[in-house]
Amino acid sequence: MSPNAFPVPDLVPLPVLLPLLGAALTLAFRRSPRLQRSVSIAVLAAVVAVAGVLVWQTDVNGPQVLWLGAWQEPLGISLVADRLSALMLLVSSIVTLLVLVFAIGQGQADSDDEIESETPLTIFHPTYLVLAAGVSNAFLAGDLFNLFVGFEILLFSSYVLITLGGSAARIHAGTTYVVVSLLSSALFLVGIAAVYAATGTVNLAQLAIRIGDLPSGVALVLQLSLLTAFAIKAAVFPLSAWLPDSYPTAPAPVTAVFAGLLTKVGVYAIIRTQTLLFPDSPLQGLLMWAALLTMVIGILGAVSQSGLKRILSFTLVSHIGYMIFGIALATPEGTAGAIFYVAHHITIQTALFLITGLVERLAGTTSLDRLGGLAVASPVLATLFFVSAMNLSGIPPLSGFLAKVGLLHAGIELGTPLAWLLVVGGIVTSLLTLYALTKVWSQAFWRTLADAPRSSETAAAPQEGALVGARETTHGSGPGTGPETTTASAVLADANPRTLPRTMLGATAAMTLVGVLITVVAGPLFAYTQRAASDLMSREPYVTSVLPVEVRR
């Protein structure tokens, strides 16, 4: 195909524009849930298609650039899709689409069961689409300020989604989340101001040229301020405490899409700035320590928890460490490994949170103390969990194993003592992940419900807890409320199984399947990430395709 047969750069803004237009439409159609659903699905499916074309085109023809508003370059806003952005875009759009299907299934099932919907659809659809637009915008942004705007778009819709329904627990979690996000945005703004004052531009391609001329001290300040802002968003260790406190309370589909995408946008920003702006960074050591601590402390958090959602939130933090590890190595292999890991981790973490949503639906709780017998109650769900859990822990031959091997290999190749330490840390983290998830498997799925520490309450309580499928009723769920106030307990399928809605199960199965699919296409995908990484390392394809020769200074 000749590059001029179709103006591919014109496709670049679509992943941002389509969801925004879709959000407007779904807002207008708020009285017709069916129309809302069709619009959302159509829009996100179109974004998947566009992202697919972009992946193919960037791989064949190099980065696709569109300068918005026809300003004279380099004044306007540029959207850039290179191999990295296109891949991120494709994975994230697939995830948003599948989670949307899950959420729709949940909404329908809730209205069938006459349970008040966990996802009030009228607000949910527009907000969710704006979130998708923000994620796409962050991936495509060609300048720091547009990246900031992308972050703000996705953060603002995430504020709404995380406090959906406005229950006490969600307001508490949302408060932490909003304040932390505000702070990181403030730091990001300060970083942008410093960058502009030092270089006179915020365009990433121009910065790539100009930052090299700055005194090393100034460049270090710029790098540190940007890294701090991104590290909060990506939940890198000293700045990760907000995540396990805020994610678990949101509705299942919301947690799933947050866990999959939002932290990865931060990781993407770190990859972008580290490779493009600060290629000779003096901070590799610092990043390696941060990676090590993120991995180990995160996973120790997961081991100490007894709630499934919290365990998964901590594994999420912990596995961010792997990606930072790859970035910190600053070799093509390390960066390629990090990119592959991002793609793998987005799908697998989302799948696990969707499974958690189904567990909660089936058993009424996600607390391991009160779960049991799920393998009997739903063999399909158990299979999905087992595959995803093994995938996350890195059991061969699944993609988690391949992603980790790629990173460890890159670490061994670098061969410094610190890199070796990280290799060891990575293996330990992988084993501890396996431990934490096996614990979930043996307790929630494998043992009988009678063996669960708090299942006795189930038998002894003939009141509302005995109703099959009764939802937990927590009286006064504020802080300091002990577990004693909970009257209902998990009741499982032995009497009258609460079936899982087919749409939700289907979406979860599809999500797990995408994770397995990454294993199948691991060879080509690794080759692709290696090409993406060598582009990033040489920086030249990005800069030359964004900037015309006369403004390349």
């Binding site: 603002f156 627990a169 939802r471």
Partner: protein
């Protein structure tokens, strides 16, 4: 306007000390407020930090000049780019503050106070560590303690009371 960018990286850019001091004052006061327990004070702190950063953008836009309209002498106008950026940032922070106000009102509605609550999970792990006990998940004979937020998350209907 392209001519503006190179002038900015010249060392002749003298920061306006008054504006720098205003920024420092606003951000410092804001930080002090944001460390408070009450959400309304945190919110006010965030407003002050946001305003301080807005002033910072005036510092980086260099010397003050005429309004940047087409047709003005490019040497006489002030740099329009930081103004465009800071306007965006102000709009975004306005919206976020509005949302945070709604959140603190809801928090007050629910709990009668606007204090940011203790982290129940953190307290639980600390208690277990103090008592030198393992988590109940490991020891079925132990009386169970479940995190309050997971219990709350079990609550299927997040509706207002």
């Amino acid at each position: 306007m392209t001519a503006l960018a190179p002038t900015l990286i010249e060392p002749s850019l003298q920061p306006n000390i008054t504006l720098v001091l205003v920024t420092v004052g606003l951000v410092a006061t804001g930080t002090a407020l944001a460390l408070d327990r009450s959400l309304v004070r945190v919110l006010l702190g965030m407003v002050l930090i946001g305003n301080g950063i807005a002033v910072l953008y005036l510092v980086i836009s260099g010397r003050a000049g005429r309004a940047p309209f087409v047709g003005e002498d490019p040497a006489a106008i002030s740099d329009p780019l930081p103004q465009a950026m800071v306007l965006t940032a102000i709009v975004i922070s306005l919206a976020t503050i509005g949302f945070l106000l709604a959140l603190s009102y809801r928090l007050w509605q629910i709990s009668g106070t606007d204090d940011v609550p203790d982290d129940a999970e953190d307290a639980r792990i600390q208690r277990l560590a103090l008592e030198d006990q393992t988590s109940s998940t490991y020891d079925p004979s132990e009386e169970s303690t479940t995190t309050s937020d997971e219990l709350a998350a079990d609550d299927g209907s997040p509706r207002a009371p």
